[in-house]
């Protein structure tokens, strides 16, 4: 049956992405973190998804096999782009090329001359007009030396990616949310006016993704109206997400939500 033949493609080599593990360091040193990344190079027009994929899709999932004494931190997600395939839905993800960094804690027991062998079972959904689940086994061995040393090939990509990673709000900036009947009003106070911004929700089912995000600049920043999701049945106490401001800087926010007095 054709349908079954196509389904088994999930086990075949990836068709639309070249995926590899990269290390920022050419050599690791005992007791320091190793900066790894999962690099996706996508065929033109194809995309993968952010940690919150939005209304459709699924984020990449990695299962790590690490040497004893080595532990993995959390996968980091560069700011996504918004994709709107129809009036009904908006998705969040990446086109072309993306590096998802992850820190490995190497422990003190790794000794110079040995190597850290890393494997990961990577699964991701890749879409253009259609979606295909893809999967690959990734491997990387990083030698251990007395001192860590940058990898000249991959280090620039890590440096570029760092600029895309959401940062904590700068000192003195403040974000909060007023919950209305149909909308959340997100306020960002920075000290100077901001004319445009984009919000990417971290938790699904809180805001209506396809609705336009209306930004009203204020003297000290902006307020942004975010339509509530039909899926939101209970009040929330915090709105988590990523704010991208003009220039491309991205900030993580955890904005407390105040209920409007009816």
């Amino acid at each position: 049956m054709l349908a079954l033949a196509v389904a088994s493609a999930a086990q075949a080599p990836p068709q639309h992405a070249r995926v590899e593990l990269l290390s920022r360091q050419e050599a690791a040193s005992a007791g320091t973190d190793l900066e790894l990344g999962v690099h996706f190079a996508l065929d033109p027009g194809w995309h993968i998804y952010w940690v919150n994929p939005g209304d459709s899709g699924q984020p990449p999932v990695l299962k790590w096999q690490l040497p004893v004494g080595v532990t993995a931190g959390a996968l980091e997600w560069p700011r996504p782009e918004r994709m709107q395939p129809s009036a009904e839905l908006a998705d969040f993800g990446y086109h072309d090329d993306v590096l998802l960094p992850i820190a490995l804690h190497t422990g003190k027991s790794t000794s110079p001359g040995s190597s850290i062998d890393i494997s990961a079972d990577a699964r991701w959904l890749i879409c253009r007009e259609v979606c295909i689940p893809e999967r690959a086994q990734l491997h990387l061995a990083v030698p251990v030396a007395a001192t860590a040393k940058l990898n000249p090939q991959s280090a620039p990509m890590f440096a570029r990616t760092e600029k895309l990673l959401p940062q904590p709000l700068p000192r003195g900036w403040k974000a909060w949310v007023q919950s209305g009947k149909e909308d959340f009003k997100l306020t960002l106070a920075t000290g100077k006016t901001i004319t445009a911004a984009q919000f990417f929700p971290l938790d699904p089912g809180q805001i209506d993704n396809p609705s336009p995000q209306k930004v009203h600049p204020t003297v000290t920043g902006f307020t942004m109206s975010l339509k509530k999701s039909d899926l939101l049945l209970k009040p929330i106490t915090v709105l988590r997400g990523v704010l991208v401001v003009p220039g491309g800087a991205a900030y993580r926010i955890e904005a407390p939500v105040r209920q409007s007095v009816q």
Binding site: M1, A3, L4, V6, A7, A10, D55, S56, G57, Q58, P85, S86, A87, E88, L89, D91, L125, C127, E129, V130, C131, I132, P133, P204, G205, D230, L231, L232, L233
Partner: protein
Amino acid sequence: MNNFHRSVLRLLVMLALVASAFAVKIGDPAPGFTAVDSNGKQQRLSDYKGKFVVLEWHNQGCPYTKKHYESGNMQRLQKGWTAKGVVWLTVISSAPGTQGFVTPTQENDYLKTMNAAPTAVLMDPGGSLGHLYSAKTTPHMFVIDPNGTLVYQGAIDDHPTSDQGDIASSKNYVSTALQQAMSGKPVTDAATRPYGCSVKYRD
């Protein structure tokens, strides 16, 4: 196209836009509709007043739909619940030329091949029914109670993957909603994030 046709078309477009602006909310009346099924028969939601109705957005090429059909999970749900008097309407909103678009004959062949057993399959290539319910993904599930009230919308289960191996350990939200609503209890997870492929609308 003469002026009259043009203004009728404009009106229809406006109506479609107005319809899509309406929210489909838990506890509200489910929007009424008339649609043609894969046997050419008219299906009205109001025909099924007094019964539970399940709406299942479908795209036979989507890996998430395939997860539930190639495992037989969706067919088991269709057979199990229609045997208890539930009306199960599968909806195909894929536009012509997009993944999941099928002719009525192709769809009936598919139902036979897959041993699927919905009450009917609604052919919605223009997407108006999809827009009316703001259907986002395949699958995207809705449960309407005998009063015509929407009591569940969202995912089929709690494992948003395309992996058949996850089904056994999944909590099925549709079955849970039906069980709870049938025994007069409130539905605990009444709205969840649907997961799957985007519905392949024309616009």
